[in-house]
């Protein structure tokens, strides 16, 4: 793969070198931006042409830069947040390996057996990822179970007491206060300590695997906050689940273990040093995400497919096999620890955090006549999912614009918690749906106004953790729920869940979606059996499952992985077909209206996310229009002072610098020689690898690749590096540190072509050269991500500081 791509760029350069007649072709190429753009090309005045020529030449030229900085003032530069922005906060990961001389030296030094050890280490790390993810899942599960049990027992005792004597409003207050205070703690730690731990974490991990460096996303602190936050928000009775955050937790664990150290704890275990770079880390993070899914749903294959579908852009079969290994280990660990905890060791009956229970009796089977019904449910799920996403979109926009202070966010979370409790209470209070307590498996039967020996059936849905409610809806015998109860519950829970997602608490959306879907699915099943005069096949539990799948599919729009996850969670392979149909329908219908929840949130966060393909109608755009220019270049042997100045320049926070031939004559343009990264420069400055010093002291240690790895991933900022006035006059030789063969494209390459190269190789910088191999511009992630296919065709997003 890499070879092919390299060939593309090299061939481009060769061609430029070979035929000089191409020089003349720049003009028609610029004009010929596409046959449909005739009107546009005519507006291209000669003067603008001239400017291009100037700019593309030399960027170290001071007056050119001044000319650049004056330009922005003409524009209104403050706008309210909207979805058509790209934030400067996000940077790319370096997936591309820098094949500099140090790298080659190291490769020469390490022999074959050492590489085999590296391979074994990869497996060991994957096993550890699985085990630790499983253990974290166990911890969350056990703590949530106990704390929620405690809460519900206290509230139930209170309600039972006040039902006799009167004063139920106190019970309501108690319930609301308990919820709000627990959620307050959960929200405070997220809002004030680590805001990136908010939400389900799936969008963040998706971005990370796409190659976007989200600040703090894989830190130990984030993991701790995430785990505590999710426990508190589930115990606080919000309409949330603990499954989504497991994926984030797994990813953090993977990123942490594979580095063999924790920067937060300032501990370095001196192991796995080989893996300290973005390439390796990202592979492990995809394994961690898979292990998280696997622990959450007891679905190891689903986890692998989730990583494939949502995450890893770079995929090979060995990586897949390792990821599968990590997932299996994770679900097995969870299973064995939980079965020991539940007292039946060796039983291995709880493979995931949520267990859908068994769907294998004959009533749960489906017939071929039911398939159109399932497809119809898929349509309903798609519509409801789109509605959910649209409402959540407006809400999130409002939150970003107005509720951006941490204390306001905490207050909002508390209010939602209190309202959730109140709504639940009022629903239970108003419900007259009583069911006999005998023979039912309700955890906290709430009698309230029911006759003795009966319980309020609305309370099974509201007065319970969402996971348990889902399982109840799947498996309670027909007749356990009144259609009225289900209808009200669906309606209320829909709005509560929609309101809750996007709060500053760490919580997932999987379980609430499943719950909404299960409720309306069951309602659907019940009405179906009314219509068909009680046919035996219209078992409401089956329809609850299909409804849950449809709703979840309509909200998150996952396809392959969700089908497999649902299949594995139900433990019934024959359900694969209807679930697939339901999810397909839900996705098609939902995509017609609005995009998936995760993609929407990625967009609202202004993340430069690269999709699989460039926008379809973008072939007329060329690299010349896409690229940023002018480029700040460095010479091969550069003055230290210049390097420090360039790095400290806050207005241009570049991370990669093309290295050009050092030519004493600044006016003459020099060809591209390599590419060097900011992080490398900082390490060089820190170790003071200057030409003069090397001449002075012969004993000076040569810099090794290890020095770069030790600084990874938190390279010190340039401000922390002190360079004296004398040293500024020294020279620095970049030739053995730079990547001597950066990927390049000619100016006339089309956007999809550039995009494909960028996306497939996971590049961070792509240098645009002219036919004399001179640097013309630079294409980075943000240059590509700003083109998007909107409602009216191709749109361009603008950059903004957030």
């Amino acid at each position: 793969m890499a070879n092919v791509a390299k060939k593309v760029s090299w061939s481009g350069r060769d061609r430029d070198d070979d035929d000089d007649e191409r020089v003349g072709e720049t003009t028609p190429l610029l004009n010929g931006t596409g046959p449909g753009a005739a009107a546009g090309t005519r507006q291209l005045t000669p003067s603008s042409f001239l400017r291009i020529g100037q700019l593309s030449n030399v960027d170290l030229n001071e007056d050119v830069r001044e000319l650049e900085t004056e330009l922005p003032r003409q524009y209104p530069n403050e706008i309210p947040h909207n979805e058509k922005l790209l934030s400067l906060k996000y940077e790319s990961l370096d997936y591309d390996n820098s094949e500099n001389q140090l790298f080659l030296e190291e490769e020469r030094r390490i022999n074959h057996t050492a590489f085999r050890t590296v391979e074994i280490k990869r497996w060991v790390i994957c096993a550890m990822i699985g085990i630790l993810t499983g253990l974290i899942a166990c911890f969350i599960d056990i703590v949530v179970e106990n704390l929620a049990g405690l809460k519900y027992r206290v509230v139930k005792g209170n309600i039972d007491k006040f039902t006799e004597k009167g004063g139920l409003s106190f019970s309501l207050l108690l319930w609301a206060t308990l919820n709000a205070s627990v959620v307050m703690v959960g929200s405070v730690i997220v809002a004030f300590i680590e805001p990136v731990a908010a939400g389900s974490g799936i969008p963040q991990i998706k971005c990370y695997l796409n190659g976007v460096k989200i600040p703090h996303v894989v830190r130990l602190k984030t993991l701790v906050i995430k785990v505590c936050g999710v426990i508190l928000s589930v115990v606080g009775g919000l309409a949330v689940g603990k499954e989504g955050p497991m994926i984030h937790s797994g990813a953090v664990i993977a990123a942490g273990i594979s580095q063999g150290r924790s920067t937060s704890l300032k501990r370095d275990f001196k192991i796995f040093e080989y893996f300290r770079r973005d390439t390796e880390k990202r592979d492990f993070v995809s394994a961690g995400a898979a292990a998280g899914v696997s622990a959450a749903f007891g679905a190891p294959v689903g986890g692998v497919l989730f990583s494939l579908e949502e995450g890893a852009s770079f995929w090979n079969q060995f990586l897949t096999w390792r990821i599968f290994f990590a997932s299996m280990i994770s679900t097995f660990t969870l299973n064995s620890v939980l079965s020991v905890y539940h007292g039946n060791a060796w039983d291995l009956s709880s493979p995931g955090l949520i267990n859908f229970g068994r769907f294998d009796n004959e009533k749960m089977g489906y017939t071929i006549q039911e398939i159109p019904i399932f497809i119809f449910m898929g349509v309903v799920g798609g519509i409801l999912g789109a509605l959910f996403n649209a409402l959540n979109y407006w809400l999130t926009m409002f939150r970003i614009r107005y509720i951006h202070r941490p204390c306001l966010q905490v207050v909002e979370a508390m209010l939602v918690a209190a309202v959730t409790a109140t709504v639940g209470f009022v629903m239970i209070y108003c419900s007259r749906d009583c069911q006999p307590i005998q023979g039912s498996t309700v955890a906290y039967p709430l009698q309230l106004f029911c006759a003795d020996g009966e319980y309020n059936s609305m309370a099974t849905a509201f007065f319970n953790t969402p996971e348990k409610s889902v399982v109840n809806l799947f498996h309670d015998p027909p007749g356990s729920y009144n259609p009225m109860t289900l209808g009200m519950f669906t309606l209320m829970y829909f709005f509560l869940a929609c309101w809750t997602y996007g709060l500053t608490v760490s919580a997932g959306v999987f379980i609430p979606s499943l719950l909404i879907g299960a409720a309306w699915g069951r309602l659907f099943g019940i009405s179906l059996s009314y219509l068909t005069k009680g046919s035996i096949w219209a078992d409401p539990g089956k329809y609850a499952l299909m409804g849950a799948a449809a709703q979840l599919g309509g909200i998150v729009r996952m396809t392959l992985s969700l089908t497999v996850i649902m299949m594995e969670a139900t433990g019934n392979v024959t359900y694969g077909f209807p679930i697939m149909l339901v999810l397909m329908t839900a996705k098609i219908v939902g995509d017609y209206f609005v995009e998936g929840l995760y993609d929407m949130h990625i967009q609202l966060q202004s993340v430069p996310f690269l999709h699989w393909e460039a926008p379809v109608t973008s072939h007329s755009l060329t690299a010349r229009e896409v690229m940023s220019t002018p480029v700040t270049c460095l010479r091969r042997i550069e003055r230290v002072g210049t390097v420090v100045d360039i790095l400290s320049d806050t207005s241009s926070n570049h991370n990669g610098f093309p290295v050009v031939e050092s030519n004493p004559d600044a006016t003459q343009v020099a060809g591209l020689r390599g590419l060097i990264l900011r992080s490398q420069l900082i390490v060089l400055l820190k170790h003071k690898v200057f030409v003069e010093r090397a001449n002075l002291s012969l004993v000076q240690r040569r810099l090794k690749l290890k020095d770069f790895r030790d600084a990874y991933p938190r390279f010190p900022p340039i401000q922390s590096i002190h360079v004296s006035q004398d040293e500024r006059e020294c020279m620095i030789d970049l030739s053995e540190f730079m990547n001597p063969s950066p990927y390049t494209v000619p100016q006339e390459a089309s956007l999809p072509r550039v995009f494909k190269l960028f996306r497939a190789l996971g590049l961070r910088h792509l240098v645009v050269v002219d036919n004399r191999n001179e640097v013309v511009g630079m294409v980075t992630r943000k240059d590509l991500a700003r083109y998007r296919l909107g409602k009216e065709g191709l749109e361009e997003l603008s950059l903004a500081q957030t």
Partner: protein, 313 residues
């Protein structure tokens, strides 16, 4: 075929006879007598068979035959007991002796490890020598019923007699029933639905005690019930409580909860009102977050922009 039938018939006959004769011949108070009669009838049938058919084929050992007959009698008795005690449910109290006896009888047949080779043969010839295996089926049916009723829960550990807590519960249950009856004298149930205040007032204490005891039993059972069997109490106790609760809250309408709707509405509308205030105030007072646009360094050709606009306008 014939010998097979001959073996089977005695097996099938007793329950059938018991069922057939049950209501007519079996008096309510004279059960032992009835059992004897059954046994006689069964022997009679057997003799008939013996007399009518030649004994040329290998016959069941007399010892085994005796065991089989005992099992047949036991199962007949248990079936009768279960049927009679189906409603109101008194299975565990009434039938546990029968059940225990039947278990012993089945054990006698099945005991393969006994020192006599005879009993081993019995197990083989009675339990496993045909397709139907009716003895096994019967025994399984009884075991399952017993499990489902969860009778073990209200019997002593050695299953001799009811456990203390069950006896206590049943005493209290009888007491409350007596109380109901006592207070309802002169009134017909369903005559005046609102006129049960007397019952409610007088029996409240007993009912409360009964209810508390039941809840206690349930809690204890749940705590002890981690080790395998389900969290249900035995069916007798459950059913007794059910009946009482239904009488109490449905028929007598005694448990009227205080529904304080006004404070609940007030508190809940207050809480529901809070978010509106919050969102409005943050909309009005919070400073809207502005993003600072950065102009990208690009070739200012306008070509791309025009391209985009032209193409899709």
């Amino acid at each position: 075929m014939a010998p097979l039938l001959r073996c089977l018939l005695p097996l099938l006959l007793p329950p059938a006879l018991a069922l057939a004769l049950g209501p007519a011949a079996v008096g309510r108070t004279r059960r032992p007598l009835a059992l004897e009669a059954l046994g006689e009838a069964e022997e009679l049938a057997e003799e008939l068979w013996d007399a009518g058919l030649p004994g040329d084929l290998p016959e069941l050992e007399p010892e085994c035959r005796r065991l089989l007959v005992a099992f047949a009698e036991g199962s007949a008795a248990l079936t009768g007991c279960l049927g009679r005690r189906a409603r109101p449910v008194r299975l565990c109290q009434a039938c546990h002796r029968h059940y225990r006896r039947l278990l012993a009888q089945y054990g006698n047949i099945a005991r393969a490890v006994g020192n006599s080779s005879e009993s081993h043969n019995c197990a083989k010839s009675i339990l496993t020598s045909d397709r139907l295996q009716i003895v096994v089926t019967l025994s399984e049916f009884f075991n399952e019923t017993w499990e489902a009723a969860n009778c073990a829960n209200c019997l002593k550990n050695s299953s001799e007699g009811l456990s203390n807590s069950t006896v206590e519960f049943l005493d209290l249950f009888n007491k409350s029933l007596t109380c109901f009856e006592h207070n309802l004298q002169g009134q017909t149930i369903y005559l005046s639905p609102s006129n049960y205040t007397e019952v409610c007032k007088n029996c409240n204490e007993t009912y409360k005690m009964l209810n508390d005891l039941y809840n206690n039993l349930q809690r204890m059972n749940r705590q002890g019930g981690e080790s395998g069997h389900s969290a249900h109490l035995c069916i007798d106790v459950e059913d007794a409580m059910n009946i009482t609760r239904k009488l109490w809250s449905r028929t007598f309408n005694c448990s009227v909860p205080c529904s304080d709707t006004v404070p609940v509405i007030a508190v809940s509308s207050f809480i529901l009102f809070l978010p509106i205030v919050f969102y409005l105030s943050s909309f009005l007072h919070s400073k809207q977050k502005k993003r600072i646009l950065i102009l990208p360094k690009r070739i200012q050709s306008n070509a791309s922009l025009v391209n985009i606009q032209e193409k899709y306008s």
